[in-house]
Subunit: 165 residues, 2 copies
Amino acid sequence: MELDALDWALLRELQHDARQTNRDLAAKTGVSPSTSLERVKILRERGVIDGFHAALDLEAVGRPVQALISVRIRPPSRPVIEGFREWAAQLPQTIGLFVTSGPHDFLLHVAVPNVDGLYAFVIDRLTERREVADVQTTMVYEHVQSRSITRPADETRRRPVTRRT
Amino acid sequence: MELDALDWALLRELQHDARQTNRDLAAKTGVSPSTSLERVKILRERGVIDGFHAALDLEAVGRPVQALISVRIRPPSRPVIEGFREWAAQLPQTIGLFVTSGPHDFLLHVAVPNVDGLYAFVIDRLTERREVADVQTTMVYEHVQSRSITRPADETRRRPVTRRT
DNA sequence: GGTGAAATACCAGAGCA
DNA sequence: TGCTCTGGTATTTCACC
């Protein structure tokens, strides 16, 4: 269950470049190729590594305009929330979807070819859903994605939230 | 510059699984291995494919609590914005960062081991920056990331935004 | 952690539109 | 001319020691 220093070293390398050879991976982490191969296989089987994916450049694939769209759903019951989630997640414009607390229930991250495509998405696609009670669009000027998840600091352990006096 | 049907087929496959063998990739897209190898190499060189990365399961690596933190920066000038962006992007808790329009300037996507870690991040880390004028935290119940960016529909072309009468 | 057989990737050159 | 397909060689992978 626990991840040791070698696991974290392998995860760091694979987050940066998932396609480097096992030989390079072993050299960078200071173990033999058979060891790194075995560890990565285990990390994959345990589900620590969820998958290996190619990242696309949104500009290069013709979708340079990004926005975040807050959506309020009424009623916010499980079937309605889950129905909307499944529908929104598979839209071609959607590249990410957050289910959130707060005044809105969803935050959609979309990428489209141009501003017209964004406007059309909001007033054509989203409004066809009866459960959508409110929509609020924010433009994304830049999106930075961290690909270097590291070991959480153990210092941040849970402290009691109730105190006796 | 343009991507043809084969390019999109390769991109679709590699977004789903970046580590499948070139043989499999060729078989799935209906071309010979040398063709798929060459095409992928070109897509990589042109920057259409930005990289190959391992995706981690945030729960499995001990960071099950996610939040979105809206941050307002004062003054919102270039040096201040860029300074904060660089600082925030490299924090271990940050897994994504949006620079946005609207009342807030940034939206930070963070993942932490527990709720205390989140609270500590907000009141210890963020407040150490003088330019942070306002912070608003929203919990993330679920985050779905689409790994299937497809060819943008050409129907969504730019229409004029000004009209003559 | 090391070794060897099998599979795979990559490079060259030829064929086809 | 540009793109794709076929063989040879180096590399990588993986089961076993």
